[in-house]
Structure formats: structure tokens, C-alpha cells
């Protein structure tokens, strides 16, 4: 029989009370001194936060072809501090670790020595990424190894299904997912989305075992964007531009194709181009979107933008004759203006068709600097177009007070002002759409969750609200005059057997700044629209510094390629062929230089 002994009971009670007191002291210590640190430490030991990556939105062309997309790949990381501690504490040694790393290196297709050195050199670090953009198969193999301190995390990779197509428009994305250029930069906020995260409870081997509902924030995936570009037209333009640059051994060139009624850019190309996924293979110079960013002097391509207002403001008439005294004309204050050929008398119509510098100098002198400046300003030169691409240059159009008496002839020949190809295409659209200065746009809109297109409020605008630069009749007259440029003027190499084009060539010496102009370097430009009866597309194309031995005039270098682009684009758009081109009005025919009616009836023969 057990006996109750007071002494023994008191001893046990004392021990229990002592233990309880010790426990209370410990609890009090944990709850008061360094409470936050202890809580954080406990959370770190039992929980881990996993980033849930948001997918960057895709970019599509106007027909839904994916131009840029995102795929999810896997990255492999190592926690060197945890790994070393684990192998040292669990009765294993570092040799075992090296053997495990050798297995990992085999899967990752890298050298074991590199992995071992990486870990020994970063022994105190908690996170080192050792492999990026691994396939699912590799990720599963790494996970199956079940190595302590080695983990697999999802990561996103930007891919461009169409390769280098429209690279300058799309731009690039950096390794951190930040848009660097082009639409990727301009619309980064819309495309990027926002990463989510989840805080999970983990076991001793750091494997996630549970998650609370409050600890899960869903990622907001990036939105999709649809561009105005048409991948097919873009392909045509890039192909022809590259071919022209190679043929004439030109270091660079640009081409822009635009819908003159809506301002939608159907294609925008620069050469040389680059692959957005292989940035290492390209230089910053190659990635420059010169069509928007780098202005140049357009040469004679500026002449329609002077003659159009001159006709609209009744400064001259198409049949008015200008006395061209010689191949070189000296202005009253001693400025020499030279033509390529001597024509004798030229009517206003032919001044544009034959691109006479002397005729334009005389016309500009009659207009005066103020009217000239107003005319060019009204076509949007010297101002940004507002296209949704980063870094757009406004070109150069000096303020009127800075113009001198020499500016009159310089500007008339396309010097002393600078334009970008996008500005040229926009300005030329005025003639194609009946006189309105539209705003070029590259983004159609966003694609919402249901897959519907939501027009971009920043770029959508009624074409009818655009300013009227010249009246519709003058625009039609200018189109008809410039159709003659392609039939019997400087742009005959652009002529199509099926459609009537209207266009203007331009050739300008390349400026060397204070050193003057290079005598043997040229910018060769051709701007055109088609078809004449109801223009569907306008193109501005410039080839810079072609090999002079092969050709340097806009009509020789740029016009053939631009003509092919127009023809292939109209074929693709299934535009019905044009009716035969009508003759100029009789009063104009009477004064045209070396007029031959058969040129209008044999388009195929003259195109060849």
C-alpha cells in the first residue's frame, strides 16, 4: 500500500512549480525581449515566400499573328549557405556534396568544377541562380534529384515568333523583364502585369507543405496589344528594303507604309535590322528606329509640300511657264541653283514632274519665306507626329526669324530642314486623303479578357477631326501631277503595269555638319501613294548613302523598290487594277516639255 508522504509530495510540487516558473520566465522573455526578431526568425524557419510570376502580354499584328509572346521556363538556384550547413551537420561530408553537384552539373550541362567553385566562393550567400530558361524536362530532373538547397523556380522568357520581323517597332525586353525599346518600352506598364506571391509553410527540407488563404496573392497577367502593322506587308517591305540596300551597297535605309485615311502604320522597317531575342548580335546603332528617331534632309521630296499650298493659294497655275535660263541659275543675290538637265521653259506641272530646282527656286521666291514656312509647318514638319513609339524626333524646321534670304532656295530644294520618314509619310498622306493631316498610329488597341479589341483612347481619333491642310481639289490635282512623275518624270522606275501610282523622288547630299556637304554621299528618297483613283497606301522610303557608282538618285535607288512594295501590297490587299491613266488637261498638255501621249498607253513597256 502506498503511503502519502508530505515531504516527498512537497518536493515533487516544488519541482513542478520550479519548472512552471522557468517556463513562464522563458515565455516572458520570448514575448518581451526581442519579440519581433523572434517572430521573424520563427516565420523564416517555418515559412517561405514564393513569387508567382505574371506573364507579360503578347503583341499581335492587325490580323492576329503573334509578333511577341511569353513562355514560362525554369530557373535553377542554389542556397550555398543552407547546402553547406546541411552536408556538414547531417553526418555527411563535402565529398558527398561534390558528388551530388556532379549529378546536378550533368543535368544542367555544365562543368562540376564551376558549380563547386561557385558555391565555395559564395558560401555565405542564400541565393545564386545557376541556370536560366531550362526546359520542363530539365526542371523535372533537377527536382527529382531532391538535393538540399537546390531549387527550381519559374521564370518567363520573351519570344518573337516571327523572328526579326518588325524588330524596331516591337523593341526589346531586358533580362529583368523591363521593356527597353519600341512598343515593349512604350507600353511596358500595360504589357508587364504584376507578380503575385504565396507564403507557404515548409518542412525541414524546405518543401512547401501548406498555404493559408490569406497568404496567396494572385498574379495580374499583362494585357495583350494589337498593332496596326500587317505582318504580310511588313514582310514585303523588309524584304524589298534589304534587297535595295544590298543592291546599292547602302549602309542603311528606312521605309514606312501607312494607310492615308486612318493614319494606321501598316509597315515600318529599318535596315539593317536585328533579332530582338539575340541582343548580343546587334549594336545600339542597329537597334535605332531611324524611321522615327533620326531626321535627315529630304531633298526634292519636299517639293510637293511647297507646290501643293502654292496651287491652293493661287500663287501659280499648273500651266504657268517658268523661264529656265540655263542649267545653272544665279539668283538676284548671287546664289547658284543647278538642275540635272536643261529644259528651257517649264510649266509648273513639269517643274514637279521633272523636279526642277530652278523652277522651284523661282516659285519659292514668289511665295516668300513666310508663306513657305507656313506651308511646311501646315504639313506637320518640325513637329512630332504623335506616333506611339518612344524617342520620336520632331525633325528640324527653323523658326521663321532664323530664315535668311538663302533659306528660300535651300528649303525649295529640300535642304535646311530635316524630316523623318514617318513625317514624310504622314505629310504625303495629305494628298492621298483629300487634304487632311492625319495622326499616324501604331497601336490598334488592347485585347480584353474576352478577346475583344478595345481601341486605344490615346491613339484613336476621328480622321474627320484632323486639320485640313489643302482643299480636296488641290489634293486631287497634286495626285494627278505626281502620277506624271511616275509616267514621264523622275520616278518612272516605280511604274506598275496594273495600278496608277503617284509619287515624288528626292536626292540630297549628306550633311557633314560644319564641314559642309559630302559631294559623293546622298540620301535617296521616294514617296508615293497608290492607287491614284482611291489611294489605299502611302509609302516613304529612303536609302542612305548608296554606292554612287551603282546609282544615287531617288528615282534610281528608292523608286524601284518602293514601286515593288506598292505593287505587292496592292496585290495582297486585292485592290482592283486601275483604269488607264487619263491625259493631263489640254491647256497643260499644250505647255508640257517633250510630251509623248504613247507613254500613257503603254505602261508595261515604259515600266521596263
Amino acid at each position: 500500500m502506498l503511503l502519502f508522504r508530505t515531504g516527498r509530495a512537497l518536493t515533487i510540487l516544488g519541482v513542478i512549480i520550479a519548472l512552471l516558473l522557468a517556463l513562464m520566465v522563458r515565455v516572458a522573455y520570448l514575448q518581451t525581449c526581442f519579440r519581433q526578431q523572434h517572430l521573424l526568425s520563427a516565420r523564416r524557419q517555418t515559412h517561405t515566400t514564393i513569387r508567382v510570376v505574371a506573364r507579360r502580354g503578347s503583341i499581335y499584328d492587325r490580323n492576329g499573328h503573334e509578333l511577341a509572346g511569353t513562355i514560362q521556363t525554369a530557373g535553377v538556384y542554389i542556397d550555398p549557405a543552407f547546402m553547406l550547413r546541411h552536408y556538414q551537420q547531417n553526418g555527411r561530408n563535402l565529398n558527398q556534396m561534390d558528388m551530388d553537384l556532379a549529378r546536378l552539373a550533368t543535368i544542367l550541362d555544365c562543368r562540376t568544377d564551376d558549380l563547386v567553385r561557385l558555391i565555395s566562393e559564395n558560401a555565405g550567400e542564400r541565393y545564386i541562380r545557376v541556370a536560366e530558361h531550362m526546359s520542363d524536362r530539365v526542371a523535372e530532373a533537377v527536382t527529382a534529384l531532391n538535393l538540399p538547397g537546390v531549387g527550381v523556380e519559374p521564370m518567363c522568357a520573351r519570344v518573337y515568333p516571327m523572328g526579326s520581323l518588325a524588330a524596331h517597332v516591337l523593341g526589346t525586353v531586358g533580362a529583368d523583364g523591363q521593356g527597353l525599346e519600341g512598343v515593349e518600352l512604350r507600353y511596358h506598364r500595360e504589357l508587364a502585369g504584376r507578380d503575385g506571391w504565396r507564403r507557404v509553410e515548409k518542412d525541414a527540407r524546405r518543401r512547401p507543405i501548406s498555404i493559408a488563404a490569406d497568404d496567396f496573392v494572385l498574379p495580374q497577367h499583362g494585357g495583350h496589344i494589337m498593332l496596326t502593322l500587317d505582318a504580310a506587308i511588313q514582310s514585303i517591305v523588309e524584304e524589298e528594303l534589304a534587297e535595295a540596300c544590298r543592291t546599292f551597297r547602302a549602309p542603311r535605309g528606312e521605309a514606312v507604309v501607312i494607310n492615308p485615311h486612318t493614319g494606321e502604320v501598316l509597315a515600318l522597317a529599318n535596315w539593317p535590322t536585328f533579332h530582338p531575342q539575340n541582343l548580343g548580335d546587334s549594336t545600339a546603332e542597329m537597334r535605332l528606329n531611324r524611321s522615327v528617331v533620326v531626321p535627315y534632309e529630304p531633298g526634292s521630296a519636299i517639293k510637293p509640300f511647297i507646290m501643293g499650298p502654292a496651287l491652293a493659294w493661287n500663287v501659280t497655275r499648273p500651266e504657268e511657264l517658268w523661264p529656265i535660263p540655263a542649267i545653272t541659275y544665279v539668283t538676284p543675290y548671287g546664289r547658284r541653283v543647278t538642275d540635272v538637265h536643261f529644259y528651257g521653259r517649264l510649266c509648273t506641272w513639269d517643274v514637279l514632274v521633272k523636279s526642277s530646282n530652278i523652277g522651284m527656286a523661282m516659285l519659292s521666291a514668289r511665295m516668300g519665306n513666310a508663306s513657305l514656312h507656313r506651308a511646311l509647318r501646315s504639313f506637320g514638319f518640325g513637329q512630332v507626329t504623335g506616333i506611339e513609339l518612344p524617342g520620336e524626333d520632331e525633325g528640324r524646321l527653323n523658326p521663321l526669324p532664323r530664315w535668311t534670304r538663302y533659306s528660300t532656295e535651300s528649303v525649295a530644294q529640300g535642304y535646311e530642314l530635316m524630316v523623318t520618314p514617318v513625317q514624310l509619310a504622314r505629310a504625303f498622306s495629305v494628298f492621298a486623303n483629300g487634304g487632311r493631316l492625319i495622326k499616324p498610329r501604331i497601336v490598334l488597341g488592347r485585347i480584353d479578357a474576352r478577346g475583344d479589341l478595345v481601341p486605344d483612347p490615346r491613339s484613336a481619333g476621328a480622321a474627320s477631326s484632323c486639320p485640313q491642310v489643302i482643299d480636296e481639289q488641290t489634293a486631287a490635282l497634286m495626285r494627278r501631277i505626281m502620277a506624271d512623275v511616275v509616267v514621264r518624270g523622275t520616278g518612272t522606275k516605280a511604274r506598275s503595269p496594273y495600278w496608277n501610282f503617284f509619287g515624288k523622288t528626292g536626292t540630297a547630299h549628306v550633311s557633314r555638319g560644319r564641314a559642309g556637304y559630302a559631294s559623293d554621299l546622298f540620301n535617296s528618297t521616294f514617296i508615293a501613294g497608290a492607287p491614284l483613283e482611291n489611294p489605299r497606301v502611302v509609302i516613304a522610303m529612303t536609302i542612305h548613302e548608296p554606292d554612287r557608282r551603282l546609282g544615287h538618285y531617288g528615282g534610281t535607288v528608292s523608286a524601284p523598290a518602293a514601286g515593288r512594295i506598292l505593287q505587292r501590297t496592292l496585290e495582297y490587299l486585292q485592290v482592283p487594277p486601275s483604269p488607264p491613266l487619263s491625259m493631263p488637261p489640254p491647256q497643260v498638255i499644250a505647255v508640257l516639255h517633250n510630251f509623248r501621249a504613247e507613254l500613257y498607253q503603254q505602261p508595261r513597256a515604259s515600266a521596263e
Binding site: L2, V52, R55, S58, H65, E66, G69, T70, I71, Q72, D136, P154, V159, P161, M162, G163, L165, R198, V200, E201, P208, I209, S210, I211, A231, A232, S235, I236, R317, P318, E319, Q473, T474, A476, L477, R479, R480, A483, Y498, L532, E533, R568, L570, E571, Y572, Q574, P576, P577, S578, P579, P580, L581, S582, M583, P584, P585, Q587, V588
Partner: protein
Amino acid sequence: MYKLALCILFMLGGGAVMLALRHQELEINHRIVALQSRIQSRQARLWNQHVQIGIVTSPEAVRRSISEDMALVPEFTLPDRPSSQRLASARHR
């Protein structure tokens, strides 16, 4: 003494049940996490396949669209409509 043993026994039993329930909760949570990971990986695979489809089909579709032998130009012609001459004449009346 028997009462004490009975108490300890019941406490042990209660503890075992609690542990089993806790284990079950952890097990279910673990399965939820695994399921969630699977959903995300399936979603990612779907995106990847979507892009893969684009890579395989889009360039070919565009190439076909612009190939020169498609003869996209319609065979018919519009009736003769010399609008440009009419406009040009109207301007100089």
C-alpha cells in the same frame, strides 16, 4: 492510482487523435499546394503551346500570303473613270 493511469491513457489517446488530425490537415494542405502548382504549370504549358503554335504557323501563313504565285490581282478591270482629269479641269475653269 487507477484514476491517474486512466487520465494519462485518455490524454495519450486525445493527443494521438489531435496529432492524427493535424497530420491530416497538413496532408490536405500539401495536396492543395501540389494541385495549385500543377494548375500553374498546366497554365504555363498552355501559354507555351500557344506561342509554339504562333512560331510554327504565323511565318508560314504570312509567307503564303505574300507569295508571288498566288495571283491575287483580280482579273476584271474597273470601268474607265477619268476622275483625275475631271478634277484637274474643274480646277482651271
